[in-house]
Each structure stands twice: as C-alpha cells, then as structure tokens.
Symmetry: C2
DNA sequence: TCAATACTGAACACTGTGTTCGGAAATATT
DNA sequence: AATATTTCCGAACACAGTGTTCAGTATTGA
C-alpha cells in the first residue's frame, strides 16, 4: 500500500546530492565545483548521479526551486494585513535570510547562480505588478508602466539583500525593511498618481 | 625612434581577439564560447592567444575595461551643470547604449558576464556616494548609510538598463532618464533630510 | 525465495584547456 | 640587402572534466 519507502530512498539519494552541492557552494564558487566533487561528498556513484539528473545545472535548479518557492510564499503571505503605504513587507525575507544564512550566502555568492536571482526577480516582479494593479482604480493608468515598476521593486529587494550580506548584516531585518520602504515607497506613490 | 609599428602589431592581434569574442558574444552566451571558437574567428594561432592572455576570462576583462571606462566617464561628465534635484543624469548612458546596442546587449545578455555588471556597479556606486556626500552639510548624517544609497542607485540604473533591453527599448533615452529620476529621487531626497 | 528496482564503479569516448617547441613570417637594425 | 629580433604559427601533448555504458551488487517488496 504505502510504497513510500522506495520513493523515500530515491528522494534520499537526491537529497544527499542537493545537500552536497549546497555544502560545496558554501566553500567555493559554483563554476569550480566538479560533478566528482559532488559525488565524493555525497558518497554517491557516478552513474547514479546521471540517472537522476542530466547535469550539474539541473541538480542546482532542482534544489533551488524549493527555496525560491518558500521565499516567494514568505513574501506573498507576510501575515500582515494589506497596507496602502506598504507595497510589500520585506522583513520576512531578511529574517529568512538571517535564519538560513549559509544557504542564502551560497545563493547570492556564486557565479553561475544568476539563474536563481533571475527566477526570484521574475516571480517577485510579477507579484508586485499584481499588487500595484490592485491599487489602481479602473481607467487609471500610471505614468510609468506597471511591469517596469515590478521589475524595479524586485531588483531593489535583491540588491538590498546582497548589500546586507556583503556587509555582514549590519542591520536587523526590521531596519532593512524600513530602509527599503523609505527608499522605494516615495517614488512608487508619486508614480501611481495618474496625473502628478 | 617611433617603434609604434611593433606595438600596433601586438595591439592589432589583441584587438582581433577582443573583436572576435565580442562578435561571438552577440550570438551565444559567454560560457559556451570556446577558445578555439575565438581563435577561428580571429584567425589567430592557439599559442599566440596564450602568449597574450592567460585565459578566456582575461581576454573578456581586457576588452570590457575599456567599455566600462568610457561608460563611467559618460556618466560622471554628463556635460550638464549639477542640479540639486538630480543625482546623476542617466540619459547619456541610455544614449550610449542605444548607439552601441549590439555591444551592450552582449554585455547585459551573457552569463559569465556578471563581473562586468559588478564592476560597473562598484564604480557607479562610488561615484554616487561622492555626489551624495557633497550634498550634505557638515555634521549632518542621513538616516540611511551613504554606501547603501550608492549601491541602491547604481543597481537601479543597471536594472532599468536591463529592462530596457529585454523589452526592446520601448522608450527614448530621455524618457528612461525621466523614469529613473521619478522613481529614485523622491526616496533619496527624503532620506537625505537628516531628521525626517 | 524471487523479482524488481536502485545503486555501484570501472572503462570509455569525447571535448576543451593550457603548455611546449621547432620553425616560419614579419619587423627592426645595420 | 643582410642580419637580428620579435612575433606568430600550429601540431603534439598531458591533463581535467563530462556524460555513457554495462556487468555486477545491494535493497526492497511480495
């Protein structure tokens, strides 16, 4: 009935591989990591690897999709009621990044990791677009294209996150969110007024 | 006396290699370009390549440093008098990008090209920091760290540039600069007031 | 116990890297 | 023009990493 054990086994192997890659990414840049490195650390055979993943990049993506998903959820459901003066709360993101420091560092640090950043940026951008659109009354059109604003906000979030890491987290998540709001909201509010 | 010919010859070879790389980057991502590809396109021998550059990345950087330099100059000397309501004019940048479209596309498009973006961002960030500091009266301290603001502004500039490319340049350079000002300046001005 | 499924690891072909070196070609010097 | 110097050429080589194959082993489920 519950043939979960077989599946768990498969999952376990994949899990080991992901963990090995993540672990290695904390020590060296993604580009310089070898499939053999991963194999050694995970203690997994070569052919086993290739029976699960087409190549290194597929492994990377598979591991990162989970993280992205949880990040997106974190941002989209901040557990706070909507606020006309707050586009989105980035505090949960910074908090998440603080808790899972190593992981985020691995993500932000690497070179071939930009897929990741692009992906987050895309999701986040879309989410922000929706949020912005909901602010508009019908037949209103903002001075700046909504998709551009989404792109803008998403890139700022990630840019602040990167700065925060590169400078060893000199502020608390709440402070970082406050900075974000302070930098971004005035321009957004200004631009959302149809005839400024 | 004028032994320029020898130097020109060397320069010519290097130039051919750079051009070949740039040309290839317009067609495929940097990562997938082979040294042999470059050699073939430049019609240069293998050992000659390695007598000039340590590896592919060094060639990339050598070619890009020039571009970065000219971009930085463009931004730092916009030929416009300083303006208390304008942190920097990005119009020259967008204009430059329009004129040298292929090149910029190659720069923004690639994968391993992030060195480039990082470099520009660093220079630009520093320049903006200086500009911001000049706005402050002595013993004033802004609510948000100056370096963070520099990082923020630089990342927005590059982010807008990228959006502009990805969406086939739907606006004029002047319009893009206007959008930049509109999004960024309110938050900056707000944050520069020492006690808001 | 038997069959199915998942893992192993050695061997292999292949692609790309960076080095070496004898000789050719271009350039500079006299 | 003859010679010396510098630069370039390209084949050959050793090396590292990729992805595949396959016969054999270990695990699991009935």
């Amino acid at each position: 009935m519950d043939h979960g054990k077989t599946d768990r086994r498969v999952t376990r192997t994949r899990h080991l591989l992901r963990e090995a890659l993540m672990s290695l990414m904390r020590e060296q840049r993604y580009d310089s990591i070898t499939v053999q490195n991963i194999l050694d650390r995970a203690d997994i055979g070569r052919s086993t690897f290739y029976s699960h993943y087409r190549d290194k990049e597929e492994l990377l993506i598979s591991g990162l999709d989970d993280i992205i998903h949880s990040l997106i959820l974190t941002l989209e459901n901040p557990g706070v009621q909507p606020d006309q003066h707050k586009l989105l709360s980035t505090e949960p993101l910074f908090k998440h990044a603080q808790d899972e420091f190593q992981l985020h560092k691995a993500i932000m640090g690497g070179h071939g990791i930009n897929l990741m950043v692009q992906k987050i940026q895309k999701h986040l951008g879309r989410h922000i677009e929706d949020e912005l659109r909901s602010w508009l009354k019908e037949d209103e059109a903002p001075a700046i294209p909504i998709p551009l604003m989404g792109h803008y906000v998403a890139s700022v979030v990630l840019s602040l996150l990167r700065w925060w890491f590169d400078n060893n987290k000199p502020h608390s998540p709440a402070q970082m969110d406050a900075i974000f709001q302070q930098l971004v909201m005035p321009g957004i509010l200004e631009s959302m007024r149809p005839k400024g």
